[in-house]
């Protein structure tokens, strides 16, 4: 170790005398300075490379490729085909910072020239008052924003906001509901799915079809104006999935401008309103009687005399005053027959079935506006009787539509829904009546349209089955004859039902065209007929144009009598139409059948009035036909 250092040591020794100490210090200082400079430049170099290559902002480039942020804070609502029903549009709102404004009067003047609805004097006053924030105008259109920007006023600025718009206006107002100015749902789907609409930017798909909705609403509103009604409601219900394809309530409101509609216009009759539906309930009575086996299609009840129970009398509106079969009870809408049928089923049975049809609890539809059905406090025999024909129980239209759906679709109750059914997912449902009972119900419903009170619901190419309902409204516990709820519930195509169509008109007034009738058959049945004939082709349902009844309909009334007489089964007409007749009706001369030529008459009755003729008959034809029918009936009753 010592050997290599020898020369150095000797050198040092040489300089020793000349101030070795100072030299050492100078050398050390040089070394330190060089090291510091090297480190500093090295650091600068590294940073230079880093800046040039990395852009100086770290490694955030990868994040830019990911999903761009949501445009708006609230998801769209679309119909079943993706048509936008509600959307949030980004808008700009103009505000001012009064402390930065130099000339308040001039600014107010300029602002009022581009926004005529802004009061110049008031604005100037507010601007002078000071503060840091003042709304000038919210939700500007792009043109307005441009104009405001062009003014170049200091102290004014824009704030990005959103505005909820409903491109279809009032069309499905009661389904969609509305939002307040800050974008919170306050009614309808907007409120029910408020959280969902905020959290998930994917559009919310409803079951509504705007085309069907538009047809339903147009027909309802035509009926409202024709019959000077105070309102109407309608439902189109898919019996296979429970989807509510259309749901309308009139009067309605424009959700773009909800504030200017008050009171009734905001009331959803189709889901929130509960009504005594009247005769449409006879279908439920028949279904429970047939399903529980208390009677079969050939059986019947004596409807000759009104029922007197407690202090009530049950009468028939279209009184036949004789023994009626089950199909006849439905076709002639006999209250007496329905009441007797229900009594045989019994109070407990009736409650059980009504519960299964979903008529005793609130509908499960996805809306905040759902009405609770009104049921009797104590359920006596009189309640069982009146409920059998739809009085003393009040349900909402959407409940009724779903329950009727279960009668025609093979007996499955599908709860009504507003959320589009995704293909492949199971559909909720509950077997409430047997498929055989459902078949019978379809026959009965078809019979009402083919031969009964629902003829006006007939639609070209589509065989409709249904039931009319006319109920008097209660005011303070008393029924008022002049205020009616006229309704019709139909299903089509009745041989393989796809949709239930319900229409209800509130307080219609009969007119000349309807011979002052304001019943379900005159007011609501034509709505359903027209709706069906329009939506059938739209929804791609294949019509039957052969003109042959798709269901084998049982004979009713004189058809039944004539058929039995001609086949020689019975000789006496009065016995033919029933089993036991009350004494008063047994006055028929036995000679009547003998003097009528049998075969031609039967032929005539069979081919008489196929549905094809019904549709294109003129009012005159109709009067003639009605007269003829009345005469025939009178003749038959002789």
């Amino acid at each position: 170790m010592t050997t290599p250092r020898l020369p150095l040591v000797s050198e040092r020794r040489r300089f020793e005398g000349f101030g070795k100490q100072a030299l050492e210090t100078g050398r050390n200082r040089l070394l330190v300075t060089a090291a510091v400079i090297t480190i500093a430049f090295g650091g600068i170099g590294v940073r230079l490379v880093d800046l040039a290559v990395g852009g100086g902002e770290g490694n955030d480039r990868a994040t830019l490729v990911t999903q761009p942020p949501a445009l708006v804070s609230r998801a769209d609502i679309v119909d079943r085909n993706g048509v936008v029903l509600a959307s949030s549009l980004p808008t700009a709102s103009l505000y001012a910072d009064p402390s930065e404004i130099i000339d308040a009067q001039a600014a107010a003047n300029k602002i009022s020239t581009i926004f005529p609805d802004v009061d110049e004097a008031k604005l100037a006053k507010n601007l002078v008052k000071g503060g840091r924030f003042l709304w000038i105008k919210r939700n500007l259109s792009p043109e307005q924003q441009l104009a405001a920007n062009r003014l170049g006023l200091p102290g004014f600025a824009f704030l990005k906001e959103e505005r909820r718009i409903y491109p279809h206006g009032a069309l499905s107002a009661h389904v969609l509901g509305a939002t307040d100015i800050d974008g919170n749902g306050i009614s309808g789907v907007e409120r029910y799915f408020d959280q969902r609409l905020r959290q998930n930017e994917k559009p919310l798909a409803l079951t509504i079809d705007v085309r069907v909705q538009s047809i339903l609403r147009a027909e309802l509103s035509a009926a409202v104006s024709e019959f000077k009604a105070i309102g109407a409601a309608g439902v189109v219900f898919d019996v296979r999935t429970g989807e509510t394809v259309a749901l309308a309530s009139l009067p309605d409101f424009n959700p773009n401008d909800r504030a200017s509609y008050k009171g009734k216009a905001r009331f959803n009759r189709a889901t929130k309103g509960v009504y005594e539906m009247g005769s449409t309930f006879k279908l439920f009575t028949a279904a429970m009687a047939l399903d529980s086996g208390t009677i079969n299609m050939k059986g019947g009840y004596d409807a000759a005399k009104p029922i007197r129970i407690a202090r009530f009398t049950i009468n028939d509106y279209h009184a036949q005053n004789r023994w009626l079969t089950v199909p006849e009870i439905i076709v002639h809408s006999s209250n007496i027959g329905a009441a007797k049928m229900a009594m045989d089923v019994g109070r407990a049975g009736q409650q059980d079935y009504l519960g299964k049809f979903g008529l005793m609890r609130e509908a499960a539809l996805e809306l905040p506006e759902i009405g609770r059905p009104l049921l009797p406090g104590t359920w006596r025999d009189i309640n069982t009787m009146t409920i059998s024909y739809g009085h003393g129980i009040a349900v909402s239209p959407v409940q009724l539509a779903a329950a009727i759906g279960s009668l025609v679709n093979g007996g499955m109750l599908r709860p009504a829904t507003l959320l589009r059914h995704e293909a492949g997912t199971p559909i909720a449902g509950e077997q409430v009546i047997s498929p055989e009972t459902s078949d019978k119900m379809r026959t009965l419903m078809r019979l009402v349209v083919a031969k009964g009170t629902g003829r006006k619901a007939a639609a070209k190419g589509y065989y409709v089955g249904g039931k009319t309902g006319t109920a008097e409204k209660q005011f303070g516990g008393r029924y008022k004859k002049s205020a009616k709820i006229s309704s019709f519930v139909g299903a089509f195509p009745i041989h393989d039902p796809r949709y239930v169509v319900f229409a209800m008109v509130d307080e219609p007034i009969g007119n000349k065209r309807t011979f002052n009738y304001a019943t379900g058959g005159w007011v609501a049945a034509p709505i359903v007929g027209r709706v069906v004939s329009q939506i059938g082709p739209l929804l791609g349902i294949e019509p039957l144009i052969t003109g042959v009844e798709p269901l084998a309909l049982p004979m009713i009334d004189d058809e039944r009598r004539k058929q039995k007489i001609s086949s020689g089964l019975v000789k006496n007409a009065s016995v033919a139409s029933g089993v036991v007749r009350p004494a008063g009706a047994l006055k028929k001369p036995p000679s009547v059948p003998a003097e009528t030529p049998k075969a031609p008459v039967r032929q005539k009755t069979k081919v008489e009035l196929p549905p094809k003729d019904l549709k294109d008959e003129t009012p005159e034809d109709q009067i003639a036909r009605k007269t003829r029918e009345a005469l025939e009936q009178a003749f038959a009753a002789q």
């Binding site: 040039a52 830019l64 445009l71 048509v83 936008v84 491109p167 538009s214 019509p543």
Partner: protein, 113 residues
Amino acid sequence: MKRSTLFLILMAAAVSVALFVVKYSVQDLDDQMRSLTRDIAETREGIHVLKSEWSHLNQPDRLRHLAGKYLEVGPLDAERVGSADRMLEGLAERKEQEVVDAETVIPKGKVKP
């Protein structure tokens, strides 16, 4: 020694020129991307607004009114709806009818107009 110093100086100059070129091109690309992203956002917003407008313009009531005013077509009725099978049946019937027509017309020697 002088030569190697010269070489190093040249190298340093070349590297810094390359560095600046790369840096500016990266900056350009960055700007380009930023403006593209902004354009995309604007276009998306435009599409969003246009979708609502499209829906508004396609209100069924409005279309019905316009069709009634300018077109000679009406709403579809049941007679125009059917399955492919039924159409084929119809075609077959029509062909048969044509054959029958031809057989009845030609032997009589009549001339079609």
